[in-house]
């Protein structure tokens, strides 16, 4: 392992591992969020409460935060180092028909997603964790829990422009993942001539699921509520 992370490949390995970890988190996050669409909020409140009080999640939460921070820091380091490699650019560049826009602009996409993430954390995470969220009782007062559903639905119903911000965030994330997903496997070395096409298809499917999944929620409150 000696000196692995000082090499350009080692830095990419960190991006790949943290990226894959964050992608698993996104699937869990989306699964819980989609419960907003079913019923009167009880299902989502139970799921959110389970996530907030689960001991496993308490352990994973700081790891997740570290995952985000390391992913962002190493993205910045890699981008800065790579920018030094071409002091003078070309005056004319033409498309090769293969390179995707997302792959060339991962840091810009990541930066936009980071801004969204800050807004998102202020909107919900901060309020749930450190603020005052109204409680609600279920099962004839036997179960009491934070009414996270009202917090989320309230924001999306009251402010239409927050819906647009969340839709934009989901779409940006989709573009980021359309490259990030297969790129993570390529960096790990888990790729060959046959798997390149397969991984690209899986990457697009994953990116579409995440983008549409997170888009449906604000759209649902914007249009139907």
């Amino acid at each position: 392992m000696n000196g692995i992370f000082s090499s350009s490949l080692g830095k990419k390995l960190i991006m790949s591992i943290t990226g894959l970890f964050l992608m698993i988190f996104l699937l869990v996050h989306l699964t819980v969020n989609l419960m907003l669409l079913f019923g009167d909020g009880k299902l989502f409140n139970f799921a959110a409460n389970f996530m907030a009080t689960n001991q496993l999640i308490e352990v994973v939460e700081p790891v997740l935060a570290i995952g985000f921070i390391v992913h962002i820091i190493y993205a910045s380091i890699i981008t800065l180092l790579n920018q030094r490699t071409r002091p003078m650019g070309y005056i004319q560049t033409s498309s090769n028909g293969v390179t995707s826009w997302a792959s060339k602009n991962m840091y810009i996409l990541g930066g936009a997603i980071f801004i969204f993430l800050v807004i998102h954390l202020i909107n919900f995470f901060w309020k749930i964790k450190f603020g005052e969220v109204a409680t609600l009782s279920y099962d004839n007062g036997l179960t009491q829990m934070a009414d996270t559903y009202s917090l989320v639905s309230g924001l999306f119903i009251t402010y239409w422009w927050y819906d647009l911000i969340y839709i934009a965030g989901a779409l940006l994330l989709g573009f980021h993942l359309s490259h990030g997903f297969w790129s993570a496997f390529q960096t790990l070395g888990w790729n060959n001539k046959i798997w390149i096409k397969r991984l690209e298809i899986i990457a697009y499917i994953y990116a579409i699921i995440i983008a549409i999944g997170f888009t449906i929620i604000p759209l649902y409150f914007l249009i139907l509520k």
């Binding site: 392992m1 000696n2 000196g3 692995i4 090499s7 350009s8 490949l9 080692g10 830095k11 990419k12 390995l13 890699i78 180092l81 790579n82 030094r84 490699t85 071409r86 002091p87 003078m88 650019g89 070309y90 005056i91 004319q92 560049t93 033409s94 090769n96 028909g97 293969v98 390179t99 995707s100 792959s103 060339k104 991962m106 490259h179 297969w182 790129s183 390529q186 960096t187 790990l188 070395g189 888990w190 790729n191 060959n192 001539k193 390149i196």
Partner: protein
């Protein structure tokens, strides 16, 4: 056909370069791109001007010396073609063709369109070889190589080291070049002996010489005149991480 050429002119490595525009008439569409440049240089010499310096050797796509950035793409618009194999029929009458040298900190311009690709040689010297005791040639079948390995090694070995991968990459990464060499040699029993030290040394040399890291945009693969696949890069990553884990 009549064309206009916008060419990067730089007298030497230390001087500041600039673009010069040259109209060129009566260009045959059957000319190769290098023949067209020869034709331009003839007229420049006749006019008492300095001819455009460009690198070339075999003029049949196997030496890798004729790389230049033509109309926004390494080796020009035609897929899997070196500059010397590119024909003027790929361009339109009246077109302005921009010709730039490879742009990378690791490939400094020597003169006009010629860049110093010594960095590739230094990478090769750091590990791109198999150490053997020279002597009488062995029997051809004494070391067996599976057909699949031989085919993959041949594909990787078709890299001519032109530097188009570096020129195309937004990070000026040499990963496709190194991966082709590492994959080529790692496929053979003789090459496996030094596989771990080879990959570690070549990657370290690449980083030291100022090439960037790979961000998997696939631009290198798209522009490689020999069609080297980025699956080589995946194999390089595997070889590197396995070797490094043991350190």
């Amino acid at each position: 056909m009549n064309i206009k050429l916008k060419i990067w002119r730089q007298p030497n490595a230390k001087s500041k370069g600039r673009f010069e525009t040259y109209p060129l008439n009566d260009v045959s569409s059957e000319m190769s791109f290098l023949e067209m440049l020869d034709y331009l240089n003839n007229s420049l010499i006749k006019d008492g001007k300095e001819p455009v310096a460009f690198e070339h050797d075999c003029r049949e796509g196997i030496c890798g010396s004729c790389g230049m950035y033509i109309s926004g793409r390494p080796h020009g618009p035609q897929h899997r073609t070196t500059t010397c194999e590119l024909r003027m029929r790929e361009f339109k009458d009246g077109q302005t063709i921009t010709i730039e040298p490879w742009r990378a900190a690791a490939f400094p311009v020597i003169k006009d369109l010629i860049v110093d690709r010594n960095a590739f040689d230094k990478i090769m010297q750091s590990g791109g070889f198999i150490s053997i005791n020279a002597g009488a040639a062995q029997d051809a079948n004494s070391i067996l190589v599976p057909k699949k390995n031989a085919d993959e090694a041949f594909d990787s070995a078709s890299c001519v080291g032109c530097g188009a991968c570096v020129a195309a990459c937004k990070n000026s990464s040499a990963m496709l070049f190194i991966s082709a060499k590492v994959t080529h040699l790692a496929q053979f029993p003789q090459g496996r002996i030094e596989a771990e030290i080879r990959v570690k040394n070549m990657v370290a040399k690449m980083d030291e010489l100022g090439f960037g890291g790979c961000t998997n945009t696939r631009a290198c693969e798209a522009e490689c005149p020999k069609g080297i696949s980025i699956s080589n890069i995946a194999k390089l990553n595997r070889e590197f991480f396995v070797a490094k884990l043991k350190d």
